[in-house]
């Protein structure tokens, strides 16, 4: 089985978000970039397929040269080979077009992407890829088993979960649950050394235009002071929620 894991290079979850150039750009100064958490759960599940079922695991990312440390981290975790599409990831449609081209040329059986990136929160890349390639697609996937050409997946739905059966070739929009938090791997020294020897192929983007453009960013309005209610006067909270906030 040939697996492609799609990786997005995103600000670490603890990052404070600021904008620059007249609020038209995300301010990357002082930001630590990491593998998008939803992608990392997928990558870790892919390592399981590699170790238990002999799968080959490649990772792909659309980004400029500055994203290579994140890609190297995926190699250090255990991916066999990496592909970087040398272009700024302008929007979800553009990225999906680039990745779809890699999937087609590489004839991958299973493509695992995160359900969404934690920066722009588009949540559309795996779905657009599935439509462009006419492949089966399971989103918000929290469990995945592959047996030959058949796959069984569990996806999270509002208020529960749904078990589905499908077949390869398949695209997954993954998230926590594909593996547990405790299964995530911190690359060890051997992995980091080996990653340096692994192939990181840089390819030119295919001709595609973005379907959206972020014209401006805003930060949330600053929060007013919290209104404290005495622990011995809980009734006042009920009062405030009813009369002032009007939420009960």
């Amino acid at each position: 089985m040939k697996i492609l894991v799609c990786i997005s290079n995103v600000p670490d979850t603890t990052s404070k978000i600021n904008f620059t150039e007249g609020d038209t750009k995300f301010d990357t100064s002082g930001i630590q970039f990491v593998i998008n958490p939803n992608d990392e759960f997928g990558l870790t599940r892919a390592m399981w397929f590699k170790e238990k079922q002999g799968a080959t695991v490649h990772v792909a990312s659309v980004g400029e040269a500055s994203t290579e440390p994140t890609i190297r981290k995926a190699l250090a975790i255990g991916a066999d080979e990496a592909i970087r599409v040398d272009a700024a990831p302008t929007d979800g449609f553009f990225v999906a077009r680039q990745l779809a081209d890699i999937v087609k040329k590489g004839e991958y059986d299973l493509v695992i992407a995160g359900r969404e990136s934690i920066d722009y929160n588009g949540g559309m890349v795996p779905g657009i890829m599935a439509a462009l390639l006419d492949m089966n697609f399971v989103n918000t996937c929290i469990n995945l088993e592959v047996d030959g050409n058949n796959a069984t997946a569990v996806r999270e739905i509002d208020g529960g979960k749904e078990k589905v059966s499908t077949s390869l070739p398949l695209i997954i929009g993954g998230q926590k649950g594909l593996v547990e938090e405790s299964d995530l791997r911190i690359p060890n020294m051997r992995g980091i050394m080996m990653a340096r020897q692994k192939k990181l192929n840089v390819v030119d983007p295919v001709d595609a235009t973005a379907a959206t453009e972020e014209v401006r960013f805003e930060k949330p309005a600053p929060k007013g002071e919290v209104k404290l209610v005495d622990a011995d006067n809980v009734g006042e909270l009920v009062e405030l929620l009813h009369n002032e906030a009007k939420v009960i």
């Binding site: 979850t13 995300f26 449609f93 208020g159 078990k163 379907a211 809980v234 405030l240």
Partner: protein
């Protein structure tokens, strides 16, 4: 060209967020000087949509579509869009709608903006405001393709009545080969209880509860309020509560009207996931807990004393206002 809205049903009834999407679609239609067409699946109560401004309903009745199937539904919506020459498609932010939206964007080569919180600030081209950076910011997104898909953030617009006579028309989409490449085997879902996605009130608790055996009072509080229960990441990682309850940056997003956080300190990742909620209440014995800076109302105190009192006061309130 009317605006097309996908109105999601559950057990034959429209979901609240479907009616919210219809309300939003009507507002956009007013801006663009057009009307709203809805597409519904296996729903016999289509007149309800007229209340929220829908002029025409394309009614799909097909036993194969009783259970949601993202690809088959996306094909149907895409065909409805071309039949109606719709250049704007509106849907909600439910898990199923988001699942379908990506496929639809790929099929129609459309611009898609998810988590939209307001009606377009301009219409030519369409520019919408949406949450980004996991609620740490907003993006003003220009939709540049011929067709635009707008995903309305839950509870962002609300239900707005605009009584309209809705005509209902039977619509039979032609589902292509491979539409059912993913088959539903089993749905495991809580029925009759509010879900985090749909609930107007969410009661959430963290490690301050000391152990899973203490969740009785959290569930009781949620029951009194008709709320969904949620939890912080450490709590789901420890296995005290199911993963489906984990809210925050890597868990489920919350956009309820009222969010009550009990024994949750308020790590930046947690706050990001819940900050779209309109009113936030924190109950924590540590006055330095970061959540107090993000909350509207707070009680510094021991949850084990405060929560039972709150339940009691709410019961009194409900009895008086019943």
């Amino acid at each position: 060209m009317s605006i097309l809205v996908y109105t999601e049903s559950e057990q034959g009834k429209f979901k609240k967020h479907a009616l919210e999407a219809a309300s939003y679609a009507y507002a956009v239609a007013q801006q663009l000087g057009t009307t709203v067409t809805a597409i519904s699946f296996n729903n016999e109560e289509n007149d309800v949509l007229g209340t929220y401004g829908v002029s025409k309903v394309l009614k799909v009745s097909d036993d194969n579509l009783k259970t949601f199937n993202a690809k088959a539904y996306a094909q149907a919506v895409s065909q409805a869009a071309s039949k109606e020459d719709s250049r704007v498609i509106v849907l909600s932010s439910s898990t199923d709608s988001k699942y379908m939206a990506g496929l639809l964007a790929g099929m129609l080569k459309a611009s898609y903006a998810p988590n939209v919180v307001a009606t377009p600030e301009s219409t030519d081209p369409i520019v919408v405001k949406r949450t980004a950076f996991s609620n740490k910011g907003f993006a003003l997104t220009k939709l540049e393709a011929d067709t635009s898909i707008i995903g309305v953030s839950n509870n962002a617009f609300g239900l707005k009545e605009n009584p309209t006579d809705a005509t209902v028309e039977v619509f039979n989409p032609e589902l292509k080969d491979g539409a059912f490449g993913v088959k539903s085997v089993e749905v495991d879902k809580v029925v009759g209880k509010a879900t985090i996605a749909d609930a107007e009130i969410v009661v959430s608790a963290g490690r301050g509860m000391k152990g899973p055996e203490n969740w009785g009072m959290i569930e009781e509080l949620a029951d009194v309020l008709g709320a969904a229960t949620a939890c912080s990441k450490p709590v789901s990682d420890l296995g005290w509560r199911p993963h489906g309850e984990h809210v925050g940056q890597t868990g489920k997003p919350v956009a309820s009207n009222l969010y009550i956080a009990i024994g949750i300190s308020g790590a930046i990742q947690h706050l990001a996931g819940v900050s779209a909620s309109k009113t936030k209440v924190v109950i924590n014995n540590d006055p330095e807990a970061p959540f107090f800076k993000a909350a509207d109302y707070g009680i510094v105190g021991d949850a084990f004393e405060v929560v039972p009192k709150l339940i009691e006061k709410l019961k009194e309130f409900k009895a008086q206002n019943a």
